[in-house]
Amino acid sequence: MTPSREAYAGISQEAPTLPGPAGTPVQALLDAAATTHAGSVLRRAYAVAAACHEGQLRLSGDAYITHPVEVAKICQNLGTSPDVWCAALLHDVLADTAYTADQLHRDFGDEIAGLVEEVTRLDRSNYQSTVEALDRAQSVNDPRVLVIKLADRLHNMRTLSYIPPVKQQLKSREALECFAPIARGLGLDAVARELADLAHQTLGQDREEQASLAARERASAPVISHRVLAITAVLLPKSGRHRWLSEWTAELAVLPTRRRRARFTIEMLVGMPRLAAVLRHQVTSTGRRSDRLLPASSHHGHAPAAPSNLTLGGKS
């Protein structure tokens, strides 16, 4: 829902004072939507984010606001809408500043505020808890949230050299094992490649190691497909999720080539929100109907155990 203009009453419609001259990243971002209503919302998103993060610094020594601006720019380059850029500008205000969710809804409306809240929910410091957060975030029904999360991680990877070496290793492994596959699954190949390249640089693999890793990645392609499906299956109602993942595991197993598995996975990513809507509708219209989707062992054989490669947490 687009927030009403009244919601912005009392907040300056003027462009905030920008750090640096025209041509700085935020100016380019603002220029892209300068003359539209979206442009004024975007300027206010920047103003609020800049005010909230005032005084905070990145480990690089840059003003903190440079990070959300870069994240918004990445989202912009990925062809998303200005709503997403606004949410990207504001993506850290709930976690790191005193600005509240209520204020966010009031100032920017439910659409943008909802995106920021979902990103905040996913925003966990390490791989395992990212997955836990994803698992909890059943209500994520919007791939735009994942796009913002990927852009956030991409910028963090670009500025990785400023964090302690141990964390660099951890973040790089997460980027390789979790975020690059998600990006690939969403069709954001350039993001996937850059994440993987940056991670490889940090992990210091030489050419030979990289080649053998690439070979292992090829061999584990079905595993990656499962992982991507498992992550996006958080959109489905929890009671039915396991059944569908098991079903797709069997389908993936008979697809002969990597290309076909990738196509299947991408088609499923595209269809996942629709399947989620169908299943939710069944749940809401008939009580807990989707429980019926789980196989009853006495009548239909037994439900397959969750394939081990669907287990996302920890080392696999």
């Binding site: 029904n141 059944r243 569908w244 098991s246 079903e247 595991t249 069997a250 389908e251 197993a253 008979v254 697809l255 299947f264 088609e267 499923m268 990513l269 595209v270 269809g271 996942m272 929100p273 629709r274 399947l275 989620a276 809507a277 169908v278 299943l279 509708h281 069944q282 109907r289 989707l293 196989p295 239909h300 054989g301 037994h302 439900a303 397959p304 394939p307």
Partner: protein, 115 residues
């Protein structure tokens, strides 16, 4: 319970399955047969199962073990499903003026995820 909205893709799936009404199918098989993408197929199967036209079961372990792959999910018409689907298909063929008939028309509104 009311039946599903008879979109082009739903009809395509039903027609294909009615070719062998008592046969069991797995999802990928129906994708290949109808040339619909997986992301379209599974929501349709969920919908048809939800309204009781189809039923599904896990493959028996004996079938699966000999093939050496994970358990498949099979779909087939429920007891009255095939007949209900036939009637619904027939009814949906009544002329409706300027109905969109082009194959591969845009996703019907009813199937779109709420935005």
């Amino acid at each position: 319970m009311t039946g599903p909205k008879m979109t082009l893709q739903v009809k395509q799936v039903l027609r294909s399955m009615l070719g062998e009404p008592s046969r069991e199918w797995y999802g990928l098989e129906l994708c290949d047969l109808t040339e619909l993408p997986a992301g379209t197929m599974y929501p349709i199967l969920a919908r048809l199962e939800g309204c009781g036209w189809l039923e599904s079961r896990w493959e028996h372990t004996t079938e699966q073990e000999s093939a050496g792959r994970p358990l498949r999910r099979y779909y087939r018409f429920s007891r009255d499903g095939a007949e209900t689907a036939r009637v619904a298909l027939a009814l949906s063929h009544r002329p409706k003026g300027r109905l969109v008939r082009e194959a591969g028309a845009a996703t019907p509104r009813a199937l779109r995820a709420p935005s």
